[in-house]
Amino acid sequence: MAAEQVLRVIDFASVSGLRSQTLWHAVATGVSQGQAPTLCFMRPNQAYVSLGYHRSLSEVDLDACHSQGLAVYRRMVGGGPVYLDPAQQFFQLILPMSMVPPVRANAIEWLLGPAAEALTAAGLPAQLDTRPGRMEIVADGRKVCGHGAGQIEDAMVLVGNCLESFDAGAATKTLAISDPLLLGAVERTMDRFVATPQYRVSAEVFKEVATKAYAAAIGLDPVPGELVEAELDRLGELDRQFSSAEWLEGPLVATARGARAIKIKGGVYVLAAQSGSLRAVLVWIEGVIDEISLTGSFLDQADLDAASAAVTGRTIPQAIGDVGEMFGGELRAALGSIDQRALEAGR
């Protein structure tokens, strides 16, 4: 039987943080070189931080991570810095590029659908939110599965982490955020929008249903498998590569100036914007300013509180229109530094 006529399924069970990244990268090389399309499952046996391929290392508080014993690894797929721990069940689908729909958004939707189906079977009221700028699995309005994707050699990889529970406090501490107002807003918003610990999720049911659903989606029979020698060789190389400072530093990426935006889930961001001495920390939910804290040297706190109340519940363009020359135009300038297009597009 030719390699591509089955779906190879490998359950790595519990693995180290490093291996929970390098294993599937090694499989991607294998699939790229002719191994069968592969579905992997694994769970990290320790907490760590993973950084999306293009993201700046400066987004992570390395000292805080080291003091908590958390390793930091850069992955070859997209998305932001994420806190990963043993309460998350990982899955990865690795396919030859020739099997993947050419439109990336369509491909991600196609590849996340079976995971949403499996999460529902495992005990969550999970749905795939396919609205523009969202494209994620949610339950009760909360994000219950992170994901990233990418082309590694001639294979496409979709990775997912099902969030059985989520430690927002620990996750927030890994981010390089010096402003206590921003830190607090990020933790509160993560608590509000990430994971649904009130539901008991069966990892075994998830794996069983995901295997069947992915096999049906790509039209191949699932067959238990293991790594081949070439993949094991590649795994050793990747272990060294991912542990190196050079790899962790990442590619040369230019960063735009302007407001800092921390994505909590699709349609939900915590933002920090500054103009002159005025600083705004706000939570943006589905296009509207849900909460905002204004601070500034030599500015009257009562005036700042009144301005906060006035713009809460408004869109950013509405708020910019409302505030006019308030605080010498600084609030308008701070709000104007927010890249609204990027928020709406889910970047």
């Binding site: 999306g52 391929y53 293009h54 993201r55 070859m76 797929v77 997209g78 998305g79 729909p101 050419p102 439109v103 990336r104 958004a105 369509n106 491909a107 991600i108 523009p132 700028g133 494209m135 994901h147 990233g148 994707a149 990418g150 082309q151 590619p251 040369l252 990426v253 230019a254 960063t255 735009a256 100036r257 890249d339 297009r341 990027a342 597009a345 889910g346 970047r347």
Partner: protein, 150 residues
């Protein structure tokens, strides 16, 4: 030369185009080319979130990754249309992928000193009529495959 609309997509007819990576190439001089994403490349990749290129000084062969782009949390390679040495990156454009998405001809992304220019230009589509025909055909093909919306 102004930008012309071909099958609903803006096209600069005086540039050369790489059909493999959906990139445009401008021959600035025999020792310098500028490279950017074309309108089909930006449209088919989705909402661009990140763009990165290899650093100046790096030697790249045609078809090798010149950089990468990220859209919809998907990271994919940007393949070099021309072999050469990277001279310069447009950091302002690379820092604003949404601006590149909105106006793909508004900014080059990378400048190369080509090493096999005359030979490799043969792989690119050049000339007003050839470029028009290429874009019309590519848009029709991508629509047929569902890569571009009708």
């Amino acid at each position: 030369m102004s930008v012309e609309n071909v099958s609903g997509y803006p096209v600069k007819l005086d540039l050369a185009y790489d059909p493999v990576g959906d990139l445009w190439v401008e021959v600035v001089s025999p020792s310098e080319v500028a490279i950017g994403l074309d309108s089909i490349g930006t449209e088919s990749s989705g909402s661009l979130a990140q763009l990165s290129m290899v650093p100046p000084g790096q030697v790249i062969a045609r078809g090798e990754p010149l950089g990468s782009l990220e859209a919809e949390k998907f990271v994919g390679p940007v393949l070099a249309p021309i072999s050469g040495t990277v001279l310069e990156l447009n950091t302002q454009a690379l820092a604003n992928p949404s601006a590149v998405h909105a106006d793909p001809y508004g900014a080059w992304l990378v400048r190369l000193e080509p090493s096999r220019l005359s030979e490799e230009l043969e792989n690119l589509v050049r000339g007003t009529e050839a470029v028009r025909e290429y874009f019309a055909g590519k848009v029709a093909d991508y629509k047929l495959k569902g890569i571009l919306a009708e």
